[in-house]
């Protein structure tokens, strides 16, 4: 049992910390420049204690939030706390420092009261370009991580006196779209500043000692909640697996396997038997594996679970060095972030189908469904349209799946056709439900989406990064799988080719790209 604490003050502080984290995300969305942040909301916010343990988070993207449980802890292994001073904002994107892939850059601000470092604010934002071989920084043929873009080791871009312009320029000199990116960097800085204001208010209101004690107790309480959730799980050992379509280089599936052990009050998720690290960019980090585990447990344990570092204590996550979930640090990772992470979650849910089927959804669009268009505007500036596509949700024991949604680890919105057509040389010819794509079952899977793009200018590059093209979304309890993802490229001369899940292509004026996202799996025999 955790330390006693006035339950009223604790609840007041909990609410205020959560509100402070949510406010950070608002600040980024309102002041950022790239559509990926301001329209699609590909960003997350967190507040940690002085050791880097997550205390509060915004209502953002599960895979970011899971990863941010580790970011500051790993950062502190490289940057001694005595080097941190008030007003600092450090930027970092290395996957091995509590990270996931290079485009997700974390801004970390240490927060002090009376000279004592007591918290960190972390603003994660997906930069629409981080340099590397292709616009948008998704190089699907990458064979090492240096081809994927600029690697930012912990770098102090802002001090109390303002931006460190030389370092800022070094960063901006190594990516496409510098003016837009500069605005995004300022937005991340502003978000961490707003959290600092809120935390200082809390220190004034409650005193530093009480605030620090509350941050510790909140973690203890979440640990207890997670242990209670584990106790409610069926005891035993469960195994499951799911497959990536391919790694972009070799046309063969890659397995993610899990062996789950639920004991009296803790749980172990062992991914050791997953396949070896891939040559192509679908590798990911142990932090992403842990984020997937945490997400799955939160789904199963109920939404009341306060997500923070304490909730992770009862969860043991094992990955094997050299595997696709713990690759050598030289391997490319850009797609693993949102594709392999979803395989982690699917493998866990599939393992639990025999005992918890009534709490699961059948297979859904567990892929970003990403098409990334890169181009230069007439004034020479870079424009990147990073568009994720939802599909049909899997059916459940009690209802059909929803049409055209994003599920599980990602929570990014689409870009309106009017915004696309106003800002890019691209036209949306059609957007409609992909009728009949949901899998049959006692409850049907949701339908996917059809969207047709026409390219109005030359020199547009297209990157795909999606899954469920080969391995379709699975049915549960005898339900049929959903229709797989399919993207076709119709050239100006009428020639039609299929676009695979992980390719870089050059498009020409008049080309059309027809995307059909996957349908959800059905539940129960039809």
């Amino acid at each position: 049992m955790s330390r006693p604490f006035d339950p009223v003050t604790l609840e007041v502080i909990r609410g205020a910390l959560t509100a402070a984290a949510e406010e950070m995300s608002l600040v980024v969305m309102r002041s950022a420049r790239s559509p990926l942040l301001r329209e699609a909301g590909d960003l997350s916010s967190a507040i940690t204690d002085a050791r880097g343990e997550m205390i509060a988070q915004g209502r953002d993207i599960p895979m970011h939030l899971g990863v941010m449980c580790f970011t500051v802890k790993e950062f502190l292994k490289r940057v001694e706390p005595r080097r941190l001073v008030p007003g600092d904002v450090w930027f970092v994107n290395l996957p091995e420092i509590g990270g996931n892939h290079l485009p997700d850059v974390k801004a970390i601000r240490p927060i002090f009261a009376g000279g004592e470092l007591f918290a960190f604010a972390v603003s994660l934002a997906h930069w629409a370009d981080i340099g590397g071989a292709v616009p948008g920084s998704y190089y699907t043929s990458a064979t090492d991580i240096w081809q994927e873009g600029l690697r930012i080791s912990p770098t102090r871009l802002f001090t109390d006196g303002g931006p460190d312009l030389e370092k800022l320029d070094l960063v901006l000199a190594n990516l496409r779209g510098a003016p837009e990116r500069r605005g995004d960097i300022y937005a991340q800085m502003a978000a961490t500043r707003s959290a600092e204001h809120r935390l200082h208010d809390l220190v004034v209101e409650h005193g530093l000692a009480t605030l620090k004690a509350a941050m510790a107790v909140l973690q203890d309480r979440s640990e207890e909640q997670m242990r209670a959730a584990i106790r409610a799980m069926p005891r035993g050992v469960f195994t499951g697996e799911d497959f990536l379509d391919d790694d972009g280089i070799h046309d063969r599936p890659i397995a993610v396997r899990v062996r789950i052990t639920f004991s009296a009050s803790d749980a172990c998720f062992d991914f050791s038997t997953s396949d070896d690290a891939a040559d192509g960019p679908v590798n990911t980090t142990p932090f992403i594996a842990a984020a997937g585990v945490f997400y799955a447990m939160k789904c199963l344990a109920g939404e009341d679970l306060q997500p923070n570092g304490g909730a992770l204590r009862p969860l043991k996550v094992v990955t094997r060095p050299g595997s696709v979930l713990e690759p050598p640090p030289t391997r490319p990772v850009v797609g693993g972030n949102h594709e392999t992470s979803q395989r982690v979650v699917d493998a866990i849910f599939r393992a639990l189908e025999p005992v918890l089927a009534d709490r699961l959804t059948a297979g859904g669009p567990t892929t970003s469904g990403l098409l990334l268009f890169g181009m230069r505007r007439s004034d020479g500036s870079w424009a990147t349209l990073y568009e994720t596509h939802g599909g049909g949700e899997g059916a459940r024991a009690d209802r059909d799946g929803l049409p055209v949604v994003r599920v599980h680890m990602s929570n990014v919105m689409n870009t309106p056709a009017e915004v696309i057509e106003a800002e890019y040389p691209i036209e949306i010819l059609r957007q409609e439900l992909r009728r009949g794509s949901g899998g049959a079952g006692a409850h049907r899977g949701g339908d996917g989406l059809t969207r047709e793009y026409r390219i109005l200018g030359d020199g547009v590059s297209l990157t795909s990064m999606f899954e469920r093209r080969v391995v379709p979304p699975y049915g549960l309890q005898g339900g049929a799988p959903g229709a797989p993802f399919r993207v076709m490229l119709v050239r100006g001369d009428g020639q039609t080719v299929e676009v695979k899940g992980k390719v870089n292509l050059q498009l020409a004026k008049g080309d059309r790209v027809i995307l059909e996202s996957c349908g959800g799996g059905g539940y129960g025999r039809p």
Binding site: S2, R33, P179, E418
Partner: protein
Amino acid sequence: VDLERAVEAIRRLNVSSVAVALLHAYANPEHELIIGKRLSSVVPYVSLSHQVNPEEREYERTSATALNAAVMPVIGEYLDKLDREVPKSANFHFFHSAGGMASAAAMRDRPLALALSGPAAGAAAAQRVTRDLALDNALTLDMGGTTTDVCLIRNGKPEIQREAILADQPIRQPMVAVKSIGAGGGSLAYVEAGMLRVGPRSAGASPGPACYGLGGTAPTVTDANLLLGYLDATRPLADGVRLDARLAEAAIGRLAGELGLGPIETALGILRIANANMLQAIRNITVDRGIDGRRCTLVAFGGAGPLHAAALAREFGIRQVVVPAYSSAYSALGCAVADLSYTQQCTVRMSSSVWSADRLARLRDNLLTGMMPHGGATDVAIEDTALIRYVGQSYSVEVPYRFPAAVDTLGHDFRTLHQQLYAFATDEDWQVEAIRVTASVAERPFALRPTSHDHRSTLAPRSTQPCWFGADGAVATPRYCRDEIAPGTRIAGPAILEDEWSTVTVPPEMALEAAVGGHLVLTREATR
């Protein structure tokens, strides 16, 4: 040809209302107008997206247009009925959600503007109070049984927001920025992971709080108010319900047992958390706008607002609370005192580097032409706001300006506001994303009659009962009848004021003064 086929298909459907939303119609409405004209010969009601919501982003605009189409026949038939049955009803005005009144004719075309106008009316009434008492910035607190609405009034005007969620659908149109949270008298208190939680689950009106004796056994905010002595169990509520203090005590006692606290401590805790939830909402609407909420006056109304306002003000550091006259029927009052006004906005998208004052003037003119025919008034005041952002941002800063705007002045004001809101501003190009125009007919004469009709020369409490304001002991607290308090009267806390509809709590460290017009002003006593 396609149009004729669509019109024929719609005619055969035999529907009464149709929404038309075409891509980019906010920028070029020509095709929508052609379709609208053609459709008007086969269906009685047509909503065109560029008229309902002339802004970019097709999903939100279509959603607003579809909702408008759905309510058009309902409002249309209602107005027809009014016309038939009430003489001169053509002169009736309707309160809309942007906080003003509009003519019946305007509401026929754009009934969606009536959505969520109830809470907006409360804010409009509060705006009137801020004028009466010469307050600049105020926060309204409208607390009822299940929800609390808060709104920021800045420089005497309620803040306007551009979108809200209604029945899970986004509706995008200018509306008074009222933030609703699930905290009210019926909010349930429970224990979760060793922490006391209050709301958003609510006991509602049925079964209601435990003390209603209607079958509810779970403790609520109202039960806490009763246990602490703020509510009077000897007086039935307006709808005849009698409060049972023993039921409240039993419900809170069970919760106290779970927490290992005393019942009074628990009741005080319930109120503190309910207040903290409301404070989050207040922080949200003030901080978000770059305003320090502690410098605002809290205007409290609704059934439970005056009960909580003083404690809330203390927690947040607000120094002054106003409980206005007619505080429990405040939305209705708002409708009576609101200005005749109408708000409309359109997308502009003009960069500071390619400025055209002519184009801006033309667009503004179009907006005004669309708004004016309905009012028929002469003495019209126009307020202009430009929504400005740096090129590449998608949220704008609202910059008030005086027409015709100089590009330099707008740029300067924008950068100042951006710096205030986001802690940085640069010299880059910026763009006017949209302009908004509010036309209003200057304040109509409407005198509030004093509420009191039973002033006593010497004020005497109806009773004196123990109330708990802290866990260390109950305080003998006099209870007064609100109607008996004459303007200028000063009462030091602790005290409770009651009328038929609501209860005003004056805690020990505050004092109350009855102002002109029946408003009550609570201030914190000078530091002890």
